[in-house]
């Protein structure tokens, strides 16, 4: 027959259960601002009843477990969305950097109708488009006044500005390229660190869960946070093993399996200093499709590379076309055959150094000995309207405009994708918060509930205590 002592222990167990409830509530409230935390819920269960003469009698309450409220499907979606977001954010950053270094902005004040109020007041850096225009205007001015040494000087100085711009832009874009390579390398290192963290968390989780028989909620939260950070860097697939550990696969190669790191990521030089990513031990090149590593590589080899190639090709066509017409001309001293531009591409284009020292060496005439002959200068000026098959059948200005449009399109697309990603990830985060987030009102109400229940069980203890005292005092009287 269950005696008073059994009732006492029933009440004690109840008080302990409510106390556990309070500490779980305290844990939830403490982590209300922790974004990686998913709320925990205490589950009560009646303890095993005992069969008695009068019937089956209950023995109170026990803590069945502390459950983590988490939707693993949603977690997977958020992680995948994070890869998409990482990819497009990295792309957007790289392209914005490229756009800034190209330096082609539209300055409305510099396009006034008569042109006279433009360059004197505009302090904005002149983009390549304006400088290409200036070069051919310079040729026109020399053609209109072939004997004027000052017009020739202006031409040479405008050509030097153009060549200087090409050189600077080329070197800045090379820096952007190097920065992207550095970011790939840094991200690969971060990813490897996260892989080793996940492996050690796997180890902790399996050991803890095997030892205690219940889920290691906080460790799982931490592991999920690491997985999401890794997802920002690269796309990955996960699968949960029976012992609670997570297998991480990147690009088809298993990286983490159980508590062991099977493989790591490695950034290697695929040629010309351009880094690609492969599995370190297996050696297979990984084709990543999401995350900031893939975003950086994609931009570097896509939009940035085509811009740099385009600029080199434009510079080389300008050099070639101008030189081929120019070298047939005669300067004021009757000499011919020299080149106007030296160099082969955007990084090396430069004006023949003799011309700035002695502008009379500009070969503007079509025949020797006629100072007023401007046939070559006129042909050079008319090059501006000629289309070039090597530049996609466009003029120099048109080809450059096409490059700017392509860059603008890529960046505009990246902006749209980032905005899309932001709205999707905001909605997913809201969904997750509604499931796993801590609501202060709810927790504080629970706190009240557990406290009242504790008080009630404490009343039972004091009542049973009084009854025991009465019982014991029966003997003495």
């Amino acid at each position: 027959m269950p005696g008073l002592f059994d009732s006492l222990s029933l009440a004690t167990r109840a008080m302990q259960a409510q106390q556990a409830g309070v500490s779980v509530t305290g844990q939830n409230l403490a982590n209300v601002n922790n974004p990686a935390y998913s709320r925990q819920r205490i589950n009560f269960q009646t303890s095993d009843p005992v069969p008695l003469v009068g019937g089956i009698q209950g023995t109170g309450v026990q803590v069945a477990g502390i459950q983590q409220i988490r939707d693993s499907l949603l977690d997977g979606q958020i992680r995948d969305e994070g890869s998409v977001g990482g990819f497009w954010t990295a792309t957007q950053n790289a392209l914005e950097n490229t756009q800034a270094e190209l330096g082609q902005f539209l300055d409305g004040a510099a396009a006034s109708a008569d042109g006279t109020s433009s360059s004197t007041s505009s302090t904005a850096a002149q983009g390549l488009s304006t400088q290409i225009n200036n070069l051919f205007s310079g040729f026109q001015a020399v053609a209109a006044d072939p004997t004027s040494l000052s017009q020739r000087q202006v031409l040479v100085s405008q050509a030097q500005s153009l060549a200087g711009s090409f050189n600077q832009i080329s070197s800045r874009l090379t820096t952007v390229n190097q920065n992207l390579n550095t970011s790939v390398s840094t991200d690969v290192d971060s990813a490897n660190k996260l892989l080793s963290d996940i492996a050690s968390l796997n180890d902790d989780i399996t050991k803890t869960e095997a030892a205690t028989g219940s889920t290691a909620n906080d460790l799982r939260d931490l592991r999920q946070q690491k997985i999401e950070s890794l997802g920002n860097l690269t796309n990955l697939q996960t699968s949960t093993a029976a012992d609670g550990s997570l297998t991480v696969t990147i690009g088809g190669v298993a990286m983490v399996s159980g508590s062991k790191i099977q493989d790591t990521l490695q950034a290697y030089d695929a040629g010309g200093g351009q880094l690609q990513v492969r599995a370190a031990t297996a050696g297979t090149a990984l084709a990543l499709t999401g995350g900031s590593i893939a975003g950086a590589i994609n931009t570097r080899d896509g939009a940035l590379a085509s811009l740099r190639t385009g600029l080199d090709s434009l510079a080389s066509q300008i050099i070639g076309k101008v030189n081929s017409v120019y070298s047939t001309g005669y300067d004021l001293n009757g000499n011919t055959g020299a080149n106007f531009f030296t160099g082969t591409n955007a990084a090396t284009i430069s004006v023949n150094p003799n011309l700035s020292a002695d502008p009379s060496q500009v070969q503007a005439a079509g025949v020797a000995g006629s100072a007023g002959d401007n046939a070559v200068a006129l042909s050079l000026a008319q090059l501006a309207q000629q289309t070039d098959a090597a530049l996609g059948n466009q003029t120099f200005g048109g080809a450059y405009g096409q490059m700017v449009t392509n860059l603008g399109n890529s960046l505009s697309n990246a902006n749209d994708q980032v905005a899309n990603h932001d709205s999707v990830s905001t909605m997913l985060a809201k969904q997750r918060d509604s499931i796993s987030g801590v609501s202060m009102e709810e927790e504080l109400t629970n706190l009240m509930t557990f406290q009242k229940a504790y008080q009630a069980s404490a009343q039972i203890v004091s009542t049973v205590n009084l009854m025991l005292q009465t019982l014991v005092n029966m003997k003495s009287t």
Binding site: L106, A111, Q140, L378, V404, L411, S412, S439
Partner: protein, 312 residues
């Protein structure tokens, strides 16, 4: 849907960010008057705008070329007018120098014609800035050089220039040459100013011949050979002067059409890249008031959130 503690503040932060960036974009459009500043704002529009800027730069250069040519044409015109005056006087002398004049008077005429020749050489060697007008493309060489004999009379005038003229672009694909070579005895090419074998003009030689005939008193030759020859020179000069007038009016109309082109390019550029001020300012004030509404409503709700502790 259950709202947790952090989701409220997170969405508030992102909404405020969005409104702030919207205001920033509109503000920068309003203050620069441009809808397109960077390639990402409107990639196709940016390429179009750059093309329009290139066209504008070309049109500006054409306008400057036209202006340079106009200066050259006016300078040439004034020289031609003065040479015509000399030609008129020479023709007058040729008519007056008939059999009724005394040898002394004929000598006086001969001296005057010598002066006229030297004046004409000086005028024909006129410059525009740093180059000679009537030398063709050899504009660093004086066109005519006169050699005098022992008695100070001009014996011969030789042409040192050439017969090529330089073309200048006044519009896309259109070039114009306004130069006139001083003499063209090759039989093809631009018409010479003072000598052209196709039209029988040879001003200086005819003047020298007149001077010699006057000095030797050969009035028969003057009326039979010199006078008709000088008439041909005069016709040639008249042609050149009226041709110069035609070129100048061509330049004027080219200047007008280039200026019209510049205006229409500017309009197109504003249409492509400019911002509709009214719309932008309206949107900006809307964005600002939305931002303020978001701030004030969120501050009220945040206070409510915290006060749940008070009630419990």
């Amino acid at each position: 849907m259950r709202i947790a503690g952090t989701s409220y503040t997170d969405s508030l932060v992102s909404q405020l960010n969005f409104l702030t960036s919207q205001q920033y974009q509109l503000q920068s459009q309003v203050s620069t008057g441009q809808r397109i500043q960077k390639p990402e704002d409107d990639p196709a529009g940016m390429a179009q705008a750059l093309g329009l800027q290139t066209d504008t730069a070309a049109a500006t250069q054409y306008a400057q070329n036209i202006s340079t040519l106009q200066t050259g044409a006016t300078t040439a015109y004034s020289a031609m007018q003065q040479i015509k005056t000399i030609s008129d006087r020479a023709g007058e002398i040729a008519t007056l120098a008939d059999g009724t004049k005394t040898p002394a008077e004929l000598q006086a005429y001969a001296t005057e014609v010598n002066q006229l020749i030297q004046q004409a050489v000086q005028l024909a060697n006129g410059k525009n800035g740093d180059h000679y007008i009537f030398s063709g493309t050899k504009s660093d060489t004086p066109p005519f050089s006169a050699t005098t004999d022992a008695s100070g009379n001009v014996a011969a005038v030789t042409y040192q220039g050439n017969t090529s003229v330089s073309q200048t672009e006044i519009a896309q694909g259109t070039t114009l040459a306004i130069d006139t070579p001083g003499a063209n005895t090759t039989g093809s090419g631009p018409r010479g100013l003072l000598a052209d074998s196709r039209y029988g003009a040879d001003f200086f030689n005819h003047l020298i011949s007149l001077q010699k005939d006057l000095a030797s008193g050969n009035t028969a030759n003057i009326s039979k050979v010199d006078q008709p020859a000088l008439t041909k020179d005069e016709d040639n000069l008249i042609y050149q002067i009226s041709n110069n007038g035609v070129l100048q009016s061509r330049l004027d109309s080219a200047a007008t059409s280039t200026s019209n082109l510049q205006s229409s390019l500017q309009q197109s550029l504003t249409k492509v890249a400019g911002v509709d001020m009214t719309k932008a300012i309206t949107e900006l004030s809307q964005a600002q008031s939305t931002y303020q509404a978001a701030l004030s409503s969120s501050s009220v709700l945040l206070q409510l959130q915290q006060s749940v502790l008070v009630y419990l």
